[in-house]
C-alpha cells in the first residue's frame, strides 16, 4: 500500500487511480484500410475512401494489428480471447467520419492481465506491486481538428482517422501519482519490448485517460471519479492526479460533490477543466458491427504470436541479477528501455568474446562502463562528441585493454574521448598517444627501488606496523611512473619489496 496521503481540513484522504492507455499499434497501414500510418504527413493525404466514410465503404481488418494486440496481451500475461467481436460506438463529432468508432465492448480480444511495478522507495513505492489490467481492446483512432487556422471554422484532418489503437484498461489499483507514473513507464517499456507500439508520447502514440477519485482513509467505497482525457506524458499523468486530487478534496471539504465527468488537462495552468464539448451524457448505443464477422483466433496463429515474443523486462531484469550478477539497481536501469538493454547486450557479447570469458565475468564492468563511464565521457565532450564513433567494437576494444591491464581506467576514458572526437581506433590511440600502462616490471622495480632508498624512515615505520603507509608508496610509484604504471603490478612489486 502506498503511503500517499492528502491532508485535508477534515482529515486524511487517499486516492484511487485507474488508467486507460491508448497505444497506437505499430503497423504500416490502418486498422481497416490500406492508408499509410506514418506520422506527420500533409493533411488528408493518408486517407482512404474507407477512412473518409464515403457511402458504401466497408472495413477489412489488418492482420498485423490483431497480431500485435495478441502479443501485447501475452506480454502482460493476459487471457487471450479466441472469440472476439468488433462493436460500433456511436456518436457525432467532426473527427469521426463514420459517426461511430469501431471498437470492442462486449467481447474484447484480450481479457484480464497484470503488470508489475518495481519498488522505488525514493518515489514512495515501498515494494514491488502488481497492477491488474482489466482488458485490452482494439479500436480506431479519430481524426484531428485544428481550431486556430480560420476565424469561424475548424479544419478537419483525417490522417490519423482509422489508425489502430490498443486501449489498455487498468484496474483501479493505483494509489499514488508515483505508482501511476511507474505503471505508464512500465507499460511503455513492455510495449516497446514487444514492438507493438513505439511508445512515442510526443507524437501521440501513447495517451492516457486518467480516472481519479478520492476517499477518506479507511473508507472502502469508491468515490465519484473524473476522467481526464488524452494526457500525453508521464509527468502530466502525475500532475493531473495531483491537481485532480487537490481539487476533489477541496470540493468535498467545501460541501460540494464531485461530478462524474470528462475533463481536459491544461499543462500551462497545471489544472484540469470540465470538457464542455463532451458534456452531454453520452449514450453510445454500442452494438456489434454488422459489417464485420466474429473474429476467431486459430491455435497456429496464437502459437506464432507467443513464439515471437522477446524476453520481457521482468524476466530480463531477473536474469541480469541472477545470471550476470548485476546489482538490482543496474539491472533495473539497463532493462528499462529497449535501446539501453540492446546497447548493453551487444557490448557485453563482443567484450566477452574478445576476452574469451563468460559474459557473467565481465558483465559488471560492462554495466558500469555503459551506465556511468561512457555516458560521462559523452556528456563532458558535449557537442565535440560524434556519436557515430561510439561503436560497440570501439568500446569493447577499450574494455579489453582495460581488463588486460594495458590501460588504466583513467586512460580508458581519455582514449574514449579521442575515439568520440576522431573515430580513430582505440588500440592505435593507446600506442601512439602513450596512453598505456607500464606493466614492465623492470621499469617499475627501478622506480620502487629509488623510492625505498629515498624514504628509509617511512619504510621503517611501515615495517613497524603502520600499514596505512602502503598508499604513500603506491602514490609515489605512480607519480614516478607518470601515472602509467599498471596499479596491479605496482601493488604486487611493492608488497614483495616491502616484505
Amino acid at each position: 500500500m502506498s503511503n500517499y496521503r492528502i491532508h485535508g481540513a477534515t482529515g486524511e484522504w487517499e486516492v484511487v487511480i485507474g488508467l486507460e492507455v491508448h497505444a497506437q499499434v505499430t503497423s504500416k497501414s490502418k486498422l481497416f484500410s490500406g492508408a499509410d500510418t506514418t506520422f506527420g504527413a500533409e493533411p488528408n493525404t493518408q486517407v482512404s475512401l474507407i477512412d473518409a466514410a464515403m457511402p458504401g465503404m466497408l472495413p477489412v481488418p489488418n492482420a498485423e494489428c490483431i497480431r500485435q494486440a495478441v502479443r501485447t496481451g501475452m506480454a502482460i500475461e493476459a487471457q487471450i480471447n479466441k472469440y472476439s467481436r468488433f462493436d460500433r460506438k456511436n456518436y457525432f463529432y467532426a473527427d469521426l467520419p463514420q459517426g461511430y468508432q469501431i471498437s470492442q465492448l462486449y467481447h474484447p480480444i484480450v481479457g484480464e492481465g497484470q503488470l508489475l511495478i518495481e519498488k522505488d522507495e525514493k518515489a514512495g513505492i515501498p515494494e514491488d506491486k502488481i497492477i491488474g489490467i482489466e482488458r485490452i481492446h482494439v479500436e480506431q483512432d479519430a481524426g484531428k481538428l485544428m481550431h486556430d487556422q480560420h476565424p469561424t471554422m475548424s479544419y478537419v484532418d483525417l490522417n490519423r482517422c482509422g489508425v489502430a489503437l490498443m486501449e489498455i484498461v487498468s484496474k483501479p489499483d493505483m494509489t499514488s501519482p508515483a505508482e501511476a507514473g511507474a505503471y505508464v513507464r512500465k507499460l511503455r517499456s513492455i510495449l516497446r519490448y514487444v514492438g507493438s507500439c513505439d511508445g512515442n508520447m510526443e507524437q501521440g502514440s501513447m495517451r492516457a485517460d486518467v480516472n481519479v477519485s478520492v476517499r477518506k482513509v479507511g473508507d472502502t467505497e469508491l468515490g465519484t471519479r473524473t476522467e481526464t482525457k488524452n494526457v500525453n506524458s508521464v509527468r502530466f499523468v502525475m500532475a493531473v492526479i495531483e491537481s485532480e486530487v487537490r481539487r476533489q478534496v477541496d470540493l468535498i471539504e467545501d460541501g460540494g460533490e464531485v461530478v462524474q465527468e470528462t475533463r481536459l488537462y491544461d499543462p500551462d495552468k497545471n489544472e484540469t477543466r470540465s470538457m464542455r464539448s463532451k458534456e452531454d451524457a453520452h449514450d453510445y448505443r454500442y452494438f456489434p458491427d454488422p459489417d464485420l464477422l466474429p473474429l476467431n483466433l486459430e491455435d497456429d496463429f496464437l502459437e506464432e504470436c507467443r513464439a515471437s515474443l522477446p524476453e520481457l523486462p521482468d524476466a530480463k531484469r531477473l536474469r541480469y541479477i541472477n545470471e550476470l550478477g548485476l546489482s538490482e539497481y543496474n539491472a533495473h536501469v539497463l532493462t528499462a528501455e529497449v535501446e539501453t538493454f540492446a546497447r548493453f547486450e551487444t557490448l557485453l557479447a563482443i567484450t566477452a568474446e574478445h576476452l574469451g570469458k563468460p559474459e557473467s565475468d565481465t558483465a559488471t564492468t560492462v554495466a558500469n562502463w555503459s551506465m556511468s563511464t561512457a555516458p560521462g565521457v559523452v556528456k563532458s565532450l558535449g557537442d565535440e562528441a560524434n556519436l557515430e564513433y561510439a561503436t560497440a567494437e570501439a568500446q569493447a576494444a577499450i574494455l579489453k585493454m582495460q581488463d588486460t591491464g594495458k590501460i588504466s581506467g583513467g586512460q580508458a576514458k581519455e582514449i574514449y574521448e579521442i575515439v568520440l572526437k576522431t573515430g580513430r581506433s582505440p588500440d592505435e590511440i593507446a600506442d601512439t598517444e602513450g596512453l598505456k600502462q607500464v606493466s614492465d616490471t623492470g621499469a617499475i622495480e627501478e622506480a620502487i627501488d629509488a623510492i625505498i632508498a629515498a624514504n628509509g624512515d617511512k619504510v621503517e615505520q611501515y615495517k613497524g606496523g603502520k600499514d596505512k603507509l602502503f598508499g604513500f608508496f603506491v602514490g609515489q610509484t605512480m607519480k614516478a611512473m607518470q601515472g602509467k604504471a599498471n596499479p596491479a603490478v605496482v601493488n604486487q612489486l611493492l608488497k614483495d619489496k616491502l616484505g
Binding site: S29, G34, N62, E64, A94, T152, V156, D157, N296
Partner: protein, 100 residues
C-alpha cells in the same frame, strides 16, 4: 413501453435530427405504433438462444498489412476525398468552429 414527446426529443437529439414541436407531436404516435407492434417479440421464449452474429456461418478474414495495395482501399488520394466536400480549404474539411 411507449415513448412520450420528451423521449422522442431525446432520441432525435441523439440521432442529430432537428425536430420542432409539431414534428415531435406527429412522431410520438407513429413511433408508439411501431414500438407497440415490435414488442410482440417479448412473447418469444429465447432462453438459451444466442443472438445471431453471422447470417452465414463464416469467420472474419484479415488482410495483410500493406500500404496502398489497392487505390480503392488505400490513401494518397486527397483530391478524391475532398472532391465532394461542401467546404474544403487548404486540404482540410471545414466545419463550423468547435470549442472544446
Amino acid at each position: 413501453m411507449s415513448v412520450d414527446k420528451a423521449t422522442v426529443a431525446k432520441i432525435a437529439s441523439l440521432a442529430r435530427i432537428q425536430m420542432d414541436d409539431d414534428a415531435l407531436e406527429r412522431m410520438v404516435p407513429e413511433l408508439n405504433n411501431i414500438l407497440g407492434w415490435v414488442e410482440q417479440l417479448g412473447e418469444v421464449d429465447c432462453t438459451g438462444v444466442e443472438p445471431m452474429t453471422a447470417v452465414i456461418p463464416n469467420t472474419l478474414r484479415l488482410r495483410d498489412d500493406v500500404v496502398n495495395a489497392d487505390p480503392k482501399t488505400g490513401g494518397d488520394r486527397r483530391d478524391d476525398i475532398l472532391a465532394n466536400a461542401p467546404a474544403a480549404e487548404h486540404g482540410f474539411f471545414g466545419v463550423p468552429k468547435v470549442i472544446e
